[in-house]
Symmetry: none
Subunit: 203 residues, 4 copies
């Protein structure tokens, strides 16, 4: 039954955390709904936070890794070829991240909607910050390469990229079939890519 107890706890915990957030969810309620006792729970985890981590950590780390690897791969491309590869890297990276996130929707929803009060509360924000940095750097390099591009107020970069990520993750938050989801992600990417190009004056 061990397997079962843990599964049941996870199942209920995800539901409760999603409904009430980490702080709002009650451990006692979780175990009651899971049909076990507090003691049983504490045989598996040392604390409520550890339970949340168990649900979130592996996937959060996978995505963060995947994101970082993608960026590092791009950074190791000679700068003279950046403009040629940017689009592919960005699209592939987003698609890969998205694909994984889609397969682990619930974990991602926990990060997105229920992580206040945990160490994951800034996770998305941190991803965004990284994306802002790389974007900023990209256009700096473009200029070094002789392209004529505008220079944006940092806040505007922040606004656009925050929005892009928010949009991307909406597809995780809501339940839609994978094919439709992937199509939307692809189109969202094109939407932003085109808009960036125009905004920056890169034809």
């Amino acid at each position: 039954m061990a397997e079962n107890t843990l599964q049941k706890i996870h199942e209920i915990a995800v539901a409760e955390f999603l409904e009430k957030g980490f702080r709002g969810a009650s451990l006692r309620e979780i175990v009651k709904k899971a049909g076990v006792t507090t003691g049983a729970f504490y045989g598996y985890y040392k604390s409520k936070e550890e339970l949340f981590d168990a649900l979130v950590q592996p996937h959060a780390e996978y995505i963060r890794n995947c994101f970082d690897k993608c960026i590092n791969a791009f950074l190791s491309v000679p700068k003279s070829e950046w403009s040629k590869h940017m689009s592919d890297f960005s699209e592939n990276g987003m698609a890969e991240m998205f694909e994984y996130a889609f397969e682990h929707k619930d974990s991602f929803r926990l990060i997105l909607n229920a992580s206040e009060g945990t160490k994951w509360e800034n996770y998305i924000h941190d991803l965004v910050e990284t994306e802002i940095d790389i974007t900023h750097k990209y256009y700096d390099v473009m200029r070094e390469q002789g392209f004529k591009t505008h220079s944006l107020p940092p806040m505007l970069e922040h606004m656009i990229i925050s929005g892009e990520f928010t949009g991307l993750f909406e597809v995780i938050i809501h339940d839609i079939p994978k094919e439709e989801a992937m199509l939307c992600v692809k189109e969202l990417h094109d939407f932003y890519e085109g808009a960036w190009a125009k905004l920056m004056g890169l034809e």
Copy 2:
């Protein structure tokens, strides 16, 4: 003194709610930091939630109203002229909303970052839904009018508009001078307007 007591409570409450969220903030901590007693507090409000409401409600409603009025005004324009006025309505609407939100930053931040567990937790989401509806309707009408526009998956609309609003509100969340803020808002608007046009195949 009454005025003063209430002011102090508001001031501290805003800070506490922003720091810890509605659920995480402790009423007793708030009144203690405000230098008053629980008894005094409950002379003004019936509950913690009512305090939160007091801080948020007037401004939330104002914006909601402003948003709805703007949309209704647009809806009352003859459909044949929609394409001509859309951009202005949208830009002016956004600017007006933003201007007000900027003047009442803290209330807005409460909605954006601290409203989990209150009746405002879906406020932004609801705004977005409305914007999605009107946007959707707009392109329907365009097609009725003979324009050739693509038809988007509803989720894609949702993603883009969520992102746009998120981006817009980032400027409220972070502290930047008003002029810079307004410029960013204007540019964000242009960014999305252009991108929409391109996405829909309108020109």
Copy 3:
């Protein structure tokens, strides 16, 4: 009623701690027996340990101070006069300490019999260590002054002085009238003074 609540809590707490020790006593039991609620308790103290401290600290510190002052006073006497004054200092010191402890019996009993698990668990032991040090030093000085005294194994000093203190505090632990108590303390002192003198070969 505030005064009363606190008094009642103190009263019951002393009894419970004495009966079951700090660890064995239950806060819930204390407040229940005191006829109040846990919430009421936590209006006065931040924790069970803080309650224990409140009952113990002031008196523990007073005695510790009194003890240290007495020793320092002796140390500031010219060494050549130590042998002359030792007995008085020691007797007066013990009497003073004892008198105070007697007036705050319950606090002392808490230290003696119920402090396991609190920061006071080594209090008596520390007093004894100090007394051992000064005693040791005293006989060193005696030898410097030309007195012929034996040299004791450190453990024997430890044994005797531990015993002396234990004996002294027995009078606090048990309920006897003050006059009888003081007489016993005086006689205990003489008992040890004589025995020390004989043991050290002084006289």
Copy 4:
């Protein structure tokens, strides 16, 4: 393995009880550190208290017996010869007790320092009471025999004898080589014997 399991449990249990006391020690911690399971433990003992008893009882009883036998032997000596044999009985008794206790130090330390909350918490106190009784009786008999001895307040007897036992057991609590220990015990005995004689005015 059984033997081994039990041995390991005992070993760890002693350490844990000594470190944290009976109440403060956690059974689960003990079995975990011993590398076994709770189930295995409950195959040997019915409860945490029974474990403590197993560690303490045999030695506690041995000593208690030895003490009682020694006293009874003395009591069966004709009263007219008490004064002649007292010293030997007392010294031999103490030495024998001590020798045994020294060989089973840890069990004794459990009684002395970790027995709060168990049925052994008054063990030492009871020994002392018995010693007080016999001492008291001894001096009564001395007076019957025509010796001139003072009469002590019962509390003073209690104080002195408590102290003596405390001192004696210090040598068990601390780790010192047996030879040194035995010497200290012998000297402690002389210390108290002499002091008693003087206190009672018996020469």
